[in-house]
């Protein structure tokens, strides 16, 4: 791990610790809990997409596997939530291997279509296998998580717990990136032939990383089920998978911190828009929720036009060039501006 990443995680922990006092309202904590779930999935997705270069428009399916495993095993069989979550992880990993063996041979658009097909199959099963998944009526009465008899029954507790999981997940991911395996994965992204000639077992490594990202998604799904306490197929549809890919792309594919930035930004955007609509209504402009899509699209367009490497990299570069510009004004040399 680089020193930068340690600093990043340190700052994140401080921000998380201070957040409940900063926001001052449990409602915002609720929004941030959903943000944490997205961050967790996006961390795994970034390892797969950004570092290894394998696109997946099917991660909603792995979230669904986690969520449904937790819901079914706890409500119908009365298992402990932790065992159920473990089973979800195992099931997601096995599914990832089965799906990965044929699909990881594909590239580019073909890989995207294959993962899309997989997500579609899981969604159809969750809708149609009524006796197991409850079908469109869903499963209610999912128990809350308990840690040594300490129930996660308030938003503050859930907030700390879910972001704690994100920090652990992030730490492991950053560690992986800077390990030998991580360098191998980045080599796959650069050129599969070159990586292979240097002794990277690309077939196995690609499946391993798919399994890892599926595990991240599955845990995030289990946490979702135990927080909302009700699930139906709605939140795990294809559009959610697409949204996850968008989050990673907006934040920056090639940097795990970019994925986190994108997940946080796009999870909070609906809140910001509802804030905006209240403000506009307050000053007498009628705001239709349909405009959300318009603003959403414009933001994506602006980012893709001006910051194609993603928000995180793009903004840090702009900051650097601004400071370089200032340095020039002060008469210093502008070596740092690139």
């Amino acid at each position: 791990m680089k020193i930068k990443d340690y600093i990043g995680i340190g700052i994140l922990i401080i921000v998380i610790a201070a957040m409940p006092d900063l926001v001052g309202n449990d409602y915002y904590l609720g929004v941030l809990i959903f943000t944490a779930f997205n961050c967790l999935t996006c961390t795994g997705l970034c390892l797969l997409m950004g570092y290894t270069g394998q696109i997946s428009i099917g991660h909603g399916a792995f979230i669904a596997i986690g969520a449904y495993s937790s819901a079914i095993l706890t409500t119908k069989l009365g298992w402990s939530p932790w065992t159920a979550m473990g089973c979800g992880v195992l099931l997601a990993a096995i599914t990832a291997v089965i799906v990965g063996i044929p699909t990881m041979r594909l590239k580019g658009h073909y890989l995207a279509m294959a993962t899309l097909g997989f997500a579609s199959i899981v969604h159809i099963v969750s809708v149609a296998a009524v006796d197991v998944t409850g079908g469109p009526s869903g499963i209610s009465g999912i128990p809350r998580l308990q840690i040594f008899g300490f129930a996660l029954n308030s938003d503050t507790r859930n907030f700390y717990f879910s972001w704690g999981v994100v920090v652990v997940g992030l730490y492991l991911a950053v560690n992986l990136i800077h390990s030998r395996v991580g360098r191998g994965l980045q080599a796959i992204h650069g050129s599969e032939d070159a990586a292979s000639s240097l002794g990277v077992n690309i077939a196995v490594d690609k499946i391993k990383i798919l399994v890892l990202s599926a595990i991240y998604a599955s845990i995030s799904g289990s946490l979702y089920a135990h927080y909302v306490l009700y699930i139906d197929p709605g939140p795990f549809d294809i559009m959610h998978s697409v949204l996850l890919v968008t989050m990673v792309a907006v934040g920056g594919l090639h940097n795990i911190w970019g994925a986190i930035t994108g997940a946080v930004l796009l999870s909070l955007l609906p809140e910001f828009l509802s804030f905006l609509s209240e403000y506009l209504q307050g000053i007498g402009i009628r705001y239709q929720t349909d405009y959300d899509t318009l603003i959403y699209g414009s933001i994506l367009l602006l980012i893709m036009l001006f910051l194609p490497e993603g928000l995180f990299e793009g903004l840090s570069r702009s900051l650097k060039s601004i400071s370089g510009f200032r340095g020039k004004l002060a008469g210093r040399s502008s070596e740092r501006a690139d």
């Binding site: 409602y27 469109p136 009526s137 804030f275």
Partner: protein
């Protein structure tokens, strides 16, 4: 430089909007509403939002609630569970509402039930499935205003019994509405001595149900029940006509939209379905207790919004009046409102409500009238 100024402008706009200050007067009464105004269920949420705004305006014009102004906080959940959970949290924790109306769909309602139960805020759902309020002992804070799907099934079975129909085929869509109806059809059948000989489903986006109907025909069904709320249901009568099937077709109350009758065209003539009386208000007897409410609501809605009235808006109408009537009696304390709603009797658009500690829907099967399609219009079935 040019790019940078664009960003500066955008940043400035963001900062400005954050500085918004919407201060509400302390003496106002705050009620939350969550409807699926946009997204996949917007045909439910839009008339509900329109109706809620219309009714609130009327109540405030007539002096509000005991002199206090009624303020609605309307949220759009886009028919999405996560958005609905966020919206309910926002209404309870930020806007500090004393009661919530909505959400529009069964899925979103089920997703917010644990939150209102814990926060002890009364919720009046506008969604159909009976499980939202059952069992009442576990849904202390949850009520709903649409008729129950189980009562719809009972009306259909009553009618079948009168016609001597015993063996039926059911066909339902794989949506929350279709699935809940399918479960009720199967559950209640034995009680009425009805035998389900074929049980078929279709995707809400399907365009042909011939295969399913052939199976129902071959199973020897004497009648077909089609349970769906999506436009795809209008294809079933057409397929039945193409197959030259002569057995009667029953639809669910989800057929209650004139657009569906228009889509079914000639094939839709004569099909039978239970629905609230709002759709056939002109053919409801003049001495029926609901007649005045129905006519008033329809005229008011159609003149305000220049659009056809729908039963869905009616659910929001009933919910808001039940709630404000309770608040007129006991003020804006959530616990007192809840207790008062449980004692409420109210003549609404969906039927004659009679809530009790064991019944948080308050409607029974008499809320439904058997309707049929005649010359492209809904009329009360007289036979």
């Amino acid at each position: 430089m040019k790019k940078r100024s664009v960003f500066l402008l955008a940043a400035l706009a963001m900062v400005l909007s954050f500085s918004s200050a919407i201060t509400a007067m302390a003496e106002d009464i705050h009620v939350g509403c969550i409807f699926a105004i946009t997204g996949k269920a917007s045909w439910l949420g839009e008339p509900e939002r329109n109706t809620a705004e219309m009714v609130a305006k009327k109540i405030n014009a007539a002096g509000g609630i005991n002199g206090k102004k009624l303020v609605l906080h309307i949220e759009d959940d886009q028919g999405d569970n996560t958005q609905a959970v966020n919206a309910v949290n926002k209404l309870i924790k930020k806007d500090k509402v004393c009661a919530i109306i909505g959400p529009s769909t069964s899925g979103t309602s089920m997703a917010v039930v644990p939150i209102v139960q814990e926060a002890k805020i009364p919720l009046l759902s506008c969604a159909g499935a009976a499980v939202i309020v059952e069992p009442a002992s576990e849904r202390k804070w949850v009520f709903k205003t649409p008729q129950k799907d189980s009562d719809c099934v009972k009306r259909i079975y009553d009618h079948m019994k009168g016609k001597g129909i015993k063996d039926i085929g059911i066909i339902s869509s794989t949506s929350g509405f279709g699935d809940a109806g399918r479960n009720q059809l199967k559950k209640i059948a034995a009680e009425y001595g009805i035998n389900i000989v074929a049980d078929e489903t279709y995707d809400p986006t399907a365009t042909d149900m011939t295969a399913q109907l052939v199976k129902i025909k071959n199973a020897g069904a004497q009648a077909v029940v089609n349970w769906s709320i999506e436009p795809a249901q209008a294809i079933v009568p057409q397929n039945i006509k193409q197959l030259k099937l002569t057995i009667p077709l029953y639809q669910s109350h989800g057929f209650g939209n004139l657009k569906y009758a228009a889509a079914a065209g000639e094939a839709g003539e004569g099909l039978i379905f239970p629905a609230g009386r709002l759709l056939a208000v002109d053919t409801v007897a003049d001495d029926h207790p609901q007649k005045k409410v129905l006519v008033d609501y329809r005229n008011e809605y159609e003149s305000t919004y220049k659009d056809k009235v729908s039963t869905f808006g009616g659910h929001a109408y009933d919910a808001l009046y039940i709630l404000t009537n309770a608040m007129k009696k006991v003020g804006d304390d959530p616990a007192k409102i809840r207790d008062e709603i449980e004692k409420t009797e109210f003549v609404g658009t969906a039927g004659i409500f009679k809530f009790s500690p064991t019944d948080h829907c308050g409607l029974d099967k008499t809320a439904f009238e058997m309707l049929t399609v005649k010359n492209g219009k809904f009329v009360v079935l007289t036979e």
